[in-house]
């Protein structure tokens, strides 16, 4: 039994290192502007080793490095952020049905970003307000759940309530926004990576990078925290402090991603589950693998979003369409959920 597990684990890790790179390279070839694969290759090589045969700026370089690459990197990082925060929160709350969405973080962040976009314009980075309200959302969930925060149903219910609250507040922002701001707001809320440019990434990628890295460093610690407050404390862990750190990191990475991409949900639920089903619940494996496969998932989803039809399918809709049936299947198999 453990033999097959070990083989699966090794395979999973190797794949995790390789797959994102492979998908990234393949995705560079996808887009409305047809670039022959050979040209993709030579352009990349020409950029990495400059001074080659290339004479002057080519339109391909612009497309690959100004348009496609930032978007793909954003998909990679956002996917990793969402998957890792989902996995961490599941461990922390001892509840496999928890992820940043069900804790109200996603809609808290969206509300914060919307508030910032509508009333402060494009000058102030929306990430700041997104983060603040993501934290407020989590606090609200913990306060509402109260003493029974350790119970599965309670925390989910609190998350639903807080999400609903922020959605209502979001509607209020839409209501008070003038029609001009409203148009761009609605477009943004649908969840899209289509406007990714290096300026946006300049703020977002480092934040996500740091957040995901620290959460990966805490991967074993999450095993201990997942035992519950009393037991973890008996084992000598400063539970309160470490719990806060994890929640803040999860909120931070989710908010950073959401502020740029809008609400993209279900990634934080699907990916950790699939990973646990393959390699078991040990967070030393689950957290890093979730990062890698979350990145892959969002990359693939984005590829579909921009190539399946002549217009862009908002990626939030895609992940919901896939994620919700998946969630339902998971709920039905409740007994076997925390595989």
């Amino acid at each position: 039994m453990s033999g097959t597990r070990n083989k699966k684990t090794t395979a999973a890790f190797i794949l995790a290192a390789v797959l994102p790179v492979v998908i990234l390279v393949l995705s560079l070839n996808i887009g409305a502007y047809r670039i022959p694969p050979k040209a993709v290759f030579t352009t990349i090589v020409g950029a990495v080793f400059p001074g080659g045969a290339a004479s002057g700026p080519s339109p391909y370089a612009d497309i690959l490095f100004r348009i496609r690459l930032p978007r793909l990197l954003l998909a990679l990082f956002a996917g990793a952020a969402l998957a890792v925060s989902g996995a961490s929160l599941q461990a922390l709350f001892k509840n496999p049905l928890v992820f940043e969405f069900s804790l109200g973080i996603s809609y808290g962040a969206a509300f914060g970003a919307a508030l910032s976009l509508v009333f402060l314009g494009r000058k102030v980075p929306a990430q700041a307000a997104a983060f603040v309200f993501a934290i407020i959302a989590v606090l609200a969930v913990l306060v509402i759940a109260g003493k029974s925060a350790s119970q599965v149903v309670t925390i989910l219910l609190s998350g639903v309530i807080v999400s609903a609250l922020f959605q209502a507040l979001l509607s209020l922002v839409e209501f008070f926004a003038n029609p001009y701001a409203l148009q761009s707001l609605i477009f943004w809320l649908m969840g899209s990576l289509s406007q990714a440019d290096w300026k946006d990434l300049g703020m977002t990628l480092p934040i996500i990078g740091v957040g995901v890295t620290v959460l990966i460093l805490l991967r074993w610690r999450l095993n201990v925290l997942s035992l519950g407050e009393d037991e973890a404390r008996a084992l000598g862990v400063n539970v309160k402090r470490e719990k806060i750190v994890v929640i803040v990191l999860a909120a931070l990475t989710t908010a950073a991603a959401t502020a740029v991409t809008g609400v993209i949900s279900w990634v934080g639920l699907i990916v950790p589950h699939l990973v646990r089903m393959a390699v078991g619940a040990d967070n030393r494996k689950v957290i890093p693998l979730s990062a890698a496969y979350g990145a892959c998932l969002l990359l693939v989803a984005d590829d579909i979003a921009r190539s399946a039809a002549s217009f862009e399918i908002p990626i939030g809709i895609l992940t919901s369409v896939v994620g919700i049936p998946f969630f339902i299947v998971l709920l039905k198999k409740s007994g076997k959920i925390w595989l």
């Binding site: 409305a32 314009g121 209501f175 003038n178 029609p179 409203l182 148009q183 761009s184 609605i186």
Partner: protein
């Protein structure tokens, strides 16, 4: 012998009816119209109190000279439209009977005792609902961006208000002007107008699938081959790569916002490194244009088309002065001097005057 005195009361009105042309809104027989949803509506002869939820209709009513009959308007014209307060100053005292996202505020509307309500055709159920609740004629009218339908709409409103003459004046003026622009801008020989990409609604990637002023001015809207996707504004969302692929010769940015509120500006497009290879950016042919908000203002769309014709083919319109043209057209529609100049003070559109 019948005494003349006893016949007169019957003869005079009959003579009068034969001689006097129909109406300035006084007692007339009901009028049947077909609205934009294809519904047949019977409008009473006397329409004195009007609620209009569709900004385009409200603007036309004012242009027809019957703004005084308005008793209630929608939130957009009252609070967010930059032009309307100049065109119809009394609007600042008109009650708002419909807020953002709401169909009709019945409690506000009923005490106003309207004779007719004009609604927006993009919400079919709303029109039916209002008719059921208010039990008055509700006509859904809007051009949906088509000039032909705009003309029909002016004529229809003229019939409803008993101002067919004025309507005929406006439609004739409109058609003649539009025709003149079209002819001057039209292709002669092998020349074809420029390809145009429109960046509307404050977003680089949202573009209207149908925008007639561009074609009338001799250009070609690149997005016209796309299917409209969502949000009820007949727009589509494209990707940056698609814009690069199209490589438009001209890019137009919806500029109907005060400069401080613009989310998308000409400068940001010119400076965007991703668009550096696009023809329009390289040649500096990135301009503001008015666009539409809740469809047209009939005067503004004429100004717009003339302005675009000049932008696309400067050689054919050497003496074009945007502000002067604008003020002239607006005077024809609304009877007041300097309306376009007033708008330019808010939008700074005098700066768009092509050299």
């Amino acid at each position: 012998m019948i005494p003349a005195k006893s016949i007169l009361p019957f003869v005079l009105p009959a003579l009068a009816a034969m001689i006097t042309p129909a109406a300035v809104g006084q007692s007339r027989s009901p009028v049947t119209i077909v609205d934009s949803l294809g519904r047949e509506i019977v409008v009473p002869g006397r329409v004195e109190r009007i609620i209009s939820l569709e900004p385009e209709v409200t603007r036309i009513i004012v242009a027809l000279g019957e703004g005084k009959r308005l008793v209630g308007i929608d939130f957009f014209l009252r609070h967010h439209d930059r032009l309307f307060p100049f065109v119809f100053p009394p609007s600042k005292r008109l009650p708002v009977v419909s807020n953002q996202g709401q169909d009709l505020n019945y409690e506000e509307a009923i005490p106003l005792r309207p004779d007719i309500i004009f609604s927006s055709p993009s919400e079919f159920r709303m029109t039916e609902a209002i008719e059921k609740k208010m039990r008055l004629p509700v006509a859904a009218l809007a051009s949906m961006g088509k000039f032909r339908d705009l003309v029909t709409e002016i004529e229809t409103l003229g019939r409803i208000l008993g101002r067919e003459d004025r309507a005929a004046e406006l439609t004739t003026y409109f058609k003649e002007h539009m025709e003149a622009i079209r002819r001057a801008a039209a292709a002669t020989g092998v020349d074809t107008g420029p390809t145009v990409y429109l960046s509307f609604w404050g977003s680089l990637l949202r573009t209207p699938v149908s925008y007639e002023p561009v074609e009338a001015a001799g250009g070609k809207n690149l997005a016209s081959r796309l299917l409209p996707s969502y949000l009820g504004t007949a727009g589509a969302t494209v990707s940056i790569e698609q814009v690069l692929l199209w490589d438009p010769e001209v890019i137009l940015v919806q500029g109907n916002y005060p400069p401080a509120e613009r989310q998308m500006t000409v400068e940001s497009i010119l400076r965007d490194p991703r668009l550096a290879s696009v023809r329009a950016v390289r040649t500096g042919r990135v301009h503001y244009t008015f666009g539409f908000w809740y469809w047209w203002d009939p005067a503004l769309v004429l100004v717009e088309t003339a302005y675009l014709a000049r932008l696309f083919n400067p050689g054919r319109f050497p003496d074009f002065d945007l502000v002067r043209e604008g003020d002239e057209i607006f005077k024809e529609f609304y009877g007041t001097e300097g309306l376009f100049s007033a708008l330019c003070r808010v939008l700074e559109c005098h700066e768009w005057n092509p050299e």
